[in-house]
Subunit: 134 residues, 2 copies
Amino acid sequence: MDVSHIEHIGIAVKNLDKAIEYYQEILGLKCYAIEEVKDQKVKTAFFMVGQTKIELLESTDPEGPIGKFIEKKGEGIHHLAFSVKGLQGALSEIESKGVTLIDKQPRKGAEGLNIAFLHPKSTNGVLTELCEKP
Amino acid sequence: MDVSHIEHIGIAVKNLDKAIEYYQEILGLKCYAIEEVKDQKVKTAFFMVGQTKIELLESTDPEGPIGKFIEKKGEGIHHLAFSVKGLQGALSEIESKGVTLIDKQPRKGAEGLNIAFLHPKSTNGVLTELCEKP
């Protein structure tokens, strides 16, 4: 697999406005976009740090994936996303090596990227996303 | 605060050899160093991905911070480390803004960096480290 960099780090937060204030006022980062991803039941805020984005995720529904994550584990880092070249080929390659895929085919994620998630049981507990610009 | 990039992402794993195999064989990254940090009771393995390191952490003692983390939350992402310029000044600045610091003064971390941790209660649940090259 050809991984170039960490595309983003997804962080589950209870209150998006309060979290944005922390990343802006304390860490000095700039929120450049806020986007609702309806099928994931989240509202997201993005910050750029070098090559990598911080993606804050507030659930819009307690039954959504982020709502359930926070109920179970509390606020914190939710997933890690790598930028890859040739996403479909990468998925086929790692599935043949025994990795359990959540998404066998790429689908559309935030910011129009093609994305796919790997199952944490195959990744030492880290919910892992692979991304590629269309 | 002047944050340039994400210096590393710390990931707690139960079995360092098994996790190294995943990052090498599945994600195609190269482990460039293995280091024991005795005062943190961990054995670490490092991978470079673009600007950012993946730091795998296996506890050498169930009573160490990583051993306790895995017991409580399971394997997964443990902390997020930002590279900053002027670490001591950054700590003073954010403490004056009400952030609770775990380390009020920089101390030595892995790879000889000067590091300090912020308390997750001030950072929306993300154990956050600031790093600076000496």
